[in-house]
Amino acid sequence: MGSQKRIAKELAELVDSPPEGIKVELANEADLYDWKVYLNGPESSPFHNGTFLVKLKFPNEYPFKPPAVNFATKIYHPNVTNDDKGSMCLGMLRPDEWKPSSRVVAVLQFARQLLAEPMPDDAVEGRIAEQYKNDRARYEEVARDWTRRYANEKA
């Protein structure tokens, strides 16, 4: 399968030279299509000092179809669903936005960027987005609290 080769390549690149705050490993050594990614909360954000587990699942059609990105760690963020799926709303992952030339590195860097700067206009959690826009202090407080509670275990 063509996708295997490409995924292996991207994985090797990510493991060899991991971008700042991102650590990648396979969830299961036998399965290239299932990644575990640890994102460190960016310093400027309320998620600082938190480590967030993100699950990356590649479709068989990768790179023609985008990978699925899910937060396994609970996070208080307007662009991540607050359910057990933790789906993330990333523009570049939308089927019509996705380009085969986009790489996982870019996806992950974009995801991490999103932690630093949420995009309330693209929110999946309307309530959090509202709070982010209107009551930033409260939002940051809750986000920090959640980070302490949920994102610290693995740190």
Partner: protein, 636 residues
């Protein structure tokens, strides 16, 4: 929809601006081959030692060139004859040149009228604007002949770019002869372009007036307005896909034309979807939600406009409905990338015939296809094409470190495209993938449309290959640019070292032996001129056709030199060093220039040749695909 008339006349119109890039490329190729053959000719006459030196390639190669050289003189001679006969009136092969004085008057007139006739027949059914348009049209047709000679000369830079080599050369001649005989020169101006165009478009234009159309109209300095329709699937609309259709393109034969859009009807016959010539043929969609007369696209004041002409289910421009049902809307500006929707899905759009049409508009994109118009600072897509093709091929050969990741790496498997025996696919945007990797993006339901996964540019894979030769200027620019870049890159690679070793040799020869060069040149020029009396008469049609491409490439410079050697040499010196230097030699010789300029010119010549031989072989090589080398690149 009197499509039959419209399409028939459309078929008669030669020369288009659509898919110019390929055309350019092929011309570049033919040009380089012909010009390098001329070089080679000089070389041979000079010394065989130089020849060996400069063509460090194989002997096959030079013999190939020689065979080319053999052809070149015929062409130039025939072109010469065309030129002279145009000045001296009667009895040449092209009918248009027989009466030069009349031609400038009558041709445009009649041609205008033919468009006019087509126009009015097209519009006989409806529209109030017809009458004013018609009057406007006829008034312009009245003006045209008087304006033409002057307007032909003013926009020469732009015009020459548009119309390419043939025109360039002629316009040079035009300049020189302008004071003598305006009419004659305009006639000659038209003559060579219509000749090759007719053949080239493979159109049987029994009507010379119609054949004249584009060349007369292109007295406008600007590119003709073009528009392409691509099917568009609204990603936000999760409903059914809109009507599928193959991409449609139109280039307006004149700015006063209107493109009518409506329902396709069997009665109207099948309109030509993508005529290769300018056409204002109506566009029909096979959908019941499209009214017979749905909307019109009008080019006005340099912009495209759309108006609903009383459709029942509406025309939407970027989701905004233009008018009430059955009401005519006002004009709305249409920009590149706009989305036009015709009608709305009916009965849920379950059947194809009830689906609305969503069109993504590309208008006046022909600039993309004209690398010459871009300056080096801001290279838009197509420029990349040349650059990247060049670099790709260079890189393929050398494993050089230049960073054109889009070209060297398949963005799908992230592997290098430089693997031997792997089929590649290169899009018009110059991005390259393994065919194996990209094939599933090619063979989609949208098939003829290919969207580059790297840059999202759309390409129509079914687009006609554009193989007319109508560019020079950008080639000059290219060469100049390549010259610059070569000089920058020179220290780095072996290949440049080779080119360095290549260039000094002929140069020294030329400068140290100017005396030796002098005798050879007349020989050369005589060899170019001698067949001109005998050859065209004897040379059969086959030869003409066979040489048509070369002919086009060769014509202008030769005819310019022939027409007025004294002036043409210096002019071309200024205008286009690389190509004219290599071709103008006979003219400059006979013009008895001072020794100083002679010494100068060979130097330039070798300069140009060094570039040609260093950089331009990539163009011919394009034929054979990036991985097939002629052995030349590999030589250290």
């Amino acid at each position: 929809m009197s499509t039959s008339t419209a399409s028939a006349s459309a078929a008669n119109l030669p020369s288009d601006s659509r898919s110019r890039p390929l055309r350019r490329l092929s011309q570049l190729r033919s040009f380089t081959s012909s010009s390098s053959s001329t070089n080679n000719n000089n070389n041979n006459n000079n010394t065989t030692a130089t020849n060996n030196n400069s063509n460090s390639g194989t002997s096959q190669r030079s013999s190939y060139r020689n065979s080319l050289t053999n052809r070149v003189p015929w062409l130039s001679s025939s072109s010469h004859q065309q030129h002279t006969s145009a000045a001296a009136a009667p009895g040449s092969e092209s009918a248009t040149t027989t009466s030069p004085t009349n031609a400038s008057h009558s041709c445009p007139e009649s041609e205008r009228q033919s468009t006019l006739a087509r126009y009015s027949s097209v519009f006989s059914s409806n529209r109030g604007i017809d009458s004013d348009r018609r009057s406007q049209n006829s008034s312009s047709s009245r003006e045209t002949p008087t304006n033409e000679s002057s307007s032909n000369q003013q926009p020469q830079g732009a015009m020459a770019r548009l119309r390419g080599l043939t025109q360039t050369g002629d316009s040079r001649g035009n300049n020189e002869n302008a004071s003598n005989n305006n009419h004659a020169t305009t006639a000659t101006n038209d003559a060579p372009s219509s000749g090759p165009d007719n053949v080239d478009g493979a159109v049987d234009s029994s009507d010379p007036a119609a054949a004249e159309d584009p060349s007369a109209n292109s007295a406008q300095p600007k590119q003709k307005p073009t528009m392409r329709f691509f099917p568009y699937q609204d990603p936000l609309q999760n409903s059914r896909p809109s009507l599928t259709f193959i991409p449609i393109s139109r280039t307006l034969p004149s700015e006063s034309c209107v493109i009518r859009v409506g329902r396709y009807s069997e009665r109207d016959g099948i309109p030509i979807a993508n005529p290769s010539e300018p056409s204002d043929a109506p566009i029909g969609f096979k959908s019941k939600v499209v009214s017979r007369k749905h909307c019109e696209l009008i080019f006005m004041n340099g912009q495209w406009h759309i108006k609903d002409v009383g459709s029942s289910s509406g025309t939407f421009l970027n989701h905004m409905r233009l008018s009430q049902p059955n009401m005519t809307s006002k004009l709305y500006t249409v920009k590149d990338g706009d989305i036009i929707q015709l009608g709305i899905d009916f009965r849920g759009g379950e059947e194809m015939i009830f689906r609305c049409v969503r069109i993504r508009i590309e208008c006046n994109r022909s600039w993309q296809r004209q690398p010459n118009e871009f300056k080096y600072g801001s290279p838009p897509p197509f420029f990349f094409f040349h650059k990247n093709t060049e670099s790709l091929i260079k890189n393929l050969g050398k494993g050089n470190t230049a960073d054109y990741s889009g070209c060297r790496e398949c963005s799908i498997c992230l592997g290098s495209v430089l693997r031997p025996y792997q089929c590649l696919f290169m899009a018009a945007c110059a991005h390259v993938w393994h065919y194996k990797c990209v094939s599933r993006l090619i063979h989609t339901p949208d098939y003829p449309i290919f969207q580059c996964p790297n840059c999202r540019a759309y390409t129509d894979l079914s687009a006609e290959v554009d193989d007319t030769n109508d560019f020079v200027e950008e080639e000059e620019e290219e060469e100049e640019e390549q010259k610059n870049s070569t000089s920058e890159r020179q220290p780095s690679t072996e290949q440049q070292a080779q080119s360095e070793s290549q260039s000094p040799a002929p140069e020294t020869n030329a400068t140290s032996n100017p005396a030796q060069e002098t005798p050879t040149q007349p020989a050369n020029s005589s060899s170019a001129e001698s067949p001109e009396h005998g050859m065209p008469v004897e040379a059969g049609l086959a030869v003409n056709i066979e040489n048509m491409r070369l002919h086009e490439a060769e014509t202008p410079v030769q005819s310019a030199t022939n027409a007025n050697p004294a002036t043409s040499a210096p002019t071309s010196d200024v205008e286009g060093v690389p190509h004219s230097a290599s071709l103008d030699i006979p003219g400059s010789q006979s013009a008895s220039l001072s020794r100083g300029t002679l010494l100068n010119r060979p130097a330039q010549l070798t300069l140009g040749r060094a570039d040609l031989s260093d950089d331009n072989p990539l163009t011919p090589r394009n034929d054979s695909g990036p991985l097939a080398f002629d052995g030349w690149t590999g030589i250290p």
